[in-house]
């Protein structure tokens, strides 16, 4: 971190010399990031400080901009799935799902029940994974080091489940257009059951460490509040807006992928709109996600895991080797992909951070014409300037942590 003294505009340059009497207060410009550990990724914020008070905060983005949207325009529809989980590296399956739902809507493709319920189960495990990383790092920022180890311990179990399903811990690309990439592995239900049965007791552990911890409470209660209407105008979504007393959840209001069967509960009792209530909302969601994952596991229907659409979904390996038709479909899908009817679509999905939606345009070709990712981190981070305004610099780290953004999701 480097800091320099700058003069406000109303002082002439020579007035800064040592002899000249100080006419007005000096502001300090403080450069926070992009390598500051508390910015949770490569975010740079230029702070103007008046003593300990933040006068202005200007975020500087783009350090993780990798041109994913441009790259998608040269991939076929199915290939582009692998790019979706590389932007938000903590909510890969939610991103896969948002993309797949959009393309399936344009294709008019019906996904079998087994794939839908698996999607629900895995997206809830994704939420647990993401919230655990948030809780660990957020608590670490405030000096609670052991929380980080406990959270990473349970997160490892979730990642093992992802690896069991897809072969990958993080970049799963498991949700594909038309269903899933692979059928369930053998013995999956026992392993998922072991996790969801054990996890609620772990949440109790976390809460016993934090809920009544005087340092935690002093640093979070009443910190980082903002007017609800302003938050909505800024495009804030997810746990942040729920902690402000707006019970909005895409899973409830616009159910997708059979969420309506599971009766998602939205927390309504935390309305103080401060860092502490954002923590309470996410702890509620950890329990709720665990319950939903369990319910989905128990209600898992039998049947195919992919839609019956030979021109879109890759054929079974055995069929490809023995049936001429399957071999032709396989060759066509791998070489030139499939075409999607011309049109546009915007399907919102509730990611761990809020509303994620892919605005997609097809010109009738085998590649997306344009994909614009409406990512929750982007919308939430935009509120940073307003959240920091006229607040103490000591509170800025708590506020920043409570926003739970992923810079890969913001910059794409």
């Amino acid at each position: 971190m480097a800091d320099t003294l700058v003069a406000p505009a109303d002082i002439a340059p020579d007035a800064l010399s040592a002899e000249a009497p100080r006419k007005s207060k000096r502001l300090m410009t403080l450069n926070m990031g992009p390598q500051h550990p508390s910015t949770h990724g490569v975010l740079r914020i230029v702070l103007e400080l008046d003593g300990e008070t933040i006068v202005s905060a200007k975020p500087d983005l783009g350090y993780l901009h990798t041109g994913i949207e441009k790259e998608m325009e040269v991939k076929t529809w199915q290939q582009a799935v692998t790019l979706t989980d590389r932007c938000d590296y903590l909510a890969n399956l939610s991103n896969n799902l948002a993309y797949a739902l959009g393309v399936e809507k344009m294709l008019g493709l019906e996904v079998p029940a087994k794939a839908q319920v698996t999607r629900v189960m895995l997206c809830e495990l994704t939420r647990i994974n993401s919230h655990l990383v948030w809780l660990g790092t957020h608590a670490l920022d405030m000096g609670a080091m052991s929380m980080f180890f406990y959270c990473m311990r349970e997160r490892e179990e979730v990642l093992k489940l992802f690896e069991m399903f897809s072969g990958q811990r993080m970049m799963t690309s498991y949700i594909r257009i038309g269903g899933l990439a692979l059928d369930h592995p053998r013995g999956w239900d026992k392993k998922v059951k072991a996790f969801v049965d054990d996890f609620p007791s772990k949440i109790d552990q976390y809460e016993s460490l934090l809920d009544n911890n005087p340092i935690w409470k002093q640093r979070t209660i009443g910190v980082g509040a903002l007017d609800v209407d302003r938050m909505i105008a800024l495009g804030v979504s997810g746990p942040m807006i729920r902690a402000a007393g707006v019970p909005w959840d895409v899973r409830v209001d616009e159910p997708y992928s059979s969420y309506e069967k599971f009766g998602v509960r939205v927390p309504t009792e935390f309305t103080n709109n401060d860092v502490y209530d954002r923590y309470r909302v996410r702890m509620f969601e950890l329990r709720e996600s665990c319950r939903l994952a369990k319910a989905a596991m128990e209600a898992m229907p039998e049947g195919p895991f992919q839609a019956d659409a030979p021109k879109i979904v890759l054929p079974d390996r055995e069929k490809m080797k023995t049936q001429m038709e399957s071999l032709i479909y396989h060759f066509k899908i791998v070489t030139e992909g499939f075409t999607v009817p011309a049109g546009e679509v915007y399907v919102p999905v509730e990611s761990p951070r809020g509303e994620i939606a892919y605005y997609m345009v097809s010109d009738g070709g085998n590649k997306p014409y344009r994909v614009h990712m409406r990512t929750p981190s982007f919308g939430n981070l935009q509120a940073l300037e307003a959240l920091f305004d006229r607040k103490s610099i000591a509170d800025s780290i708590a506020t920043l942590g409570s926003m739970d953004f992923v810079l890969g999701d913001t910059d794409r």
Partner: protein
């Protein structure tokens, strides 16, 4: 789709559609602020996203897409609507939606950065994602996927 919104917009609507159950209205670029303010007063309190699409070599080239969301704070049904308009490729310019929704700020900066559409009246019209000294707008269809060969010696 709730047709009362279309009726309220009246002559401002050039074309309305309901493909895939997603309400869409096309309007003239000069009327965009009028349309967005009217829809905001009719309950669309959230601007979900602003997207830009390059239809090169068609003219008018750039399409701006405003995805609006009515989020009821005190119960009721939520709703979505999409407002689209086109601006020319020669001098792409449109009024900024920041006075209507503060949250439009970064989306417009992103479009300015990646597609090169200028938003008049925007309080902070700078690049958002690309480096400040970058030349060109990478999401344009005539911008090659591997970028332009950049001569560092010449640009020192």
């Amino acid at each position: 789709m709730d047709n009362s919104h279309i009726a309220a917009l009246g002559g401002l609507v050039l074309e309305a559609s309901d493909t895939l159950n997603e309400a869409t209205v096309h309007v003239a670029a000069e009327k965009i602020i009028e349309v967005l303010s009217l829809l905001k007063s009719r309950g669309f309190n959230r601007l979900s996203a602003v997207s830009g699409v390059d239809w090169h070599p068609q003219e008018p080239r750039f399409e701006l897409v405003y995805n609006l969301h009515a989020l009821p704070l005190k119960g009721g049904k939520q709703e979505r609507i999409r407002v689209k308009c086109r601006v020319s490729g020669a001098a792409p310019e449109i009024a900024s939606a920041v006075p209507v929704w503060e949250g439009a700020g970064w989306y417009e900066r992103e479009i300015f950065d990646l597609l090169g559409v200028t938003f008049t009246g925007h309080p902070d019209m700078r690049r958002l994602l690309m480096p400040d000294g970058w030349v060109g707008h990478p999401l344009r269809k005539d911008f090659p996927i591997h970028g332009h060969k950049y001569d560092y010696a010449e640009n020192k």
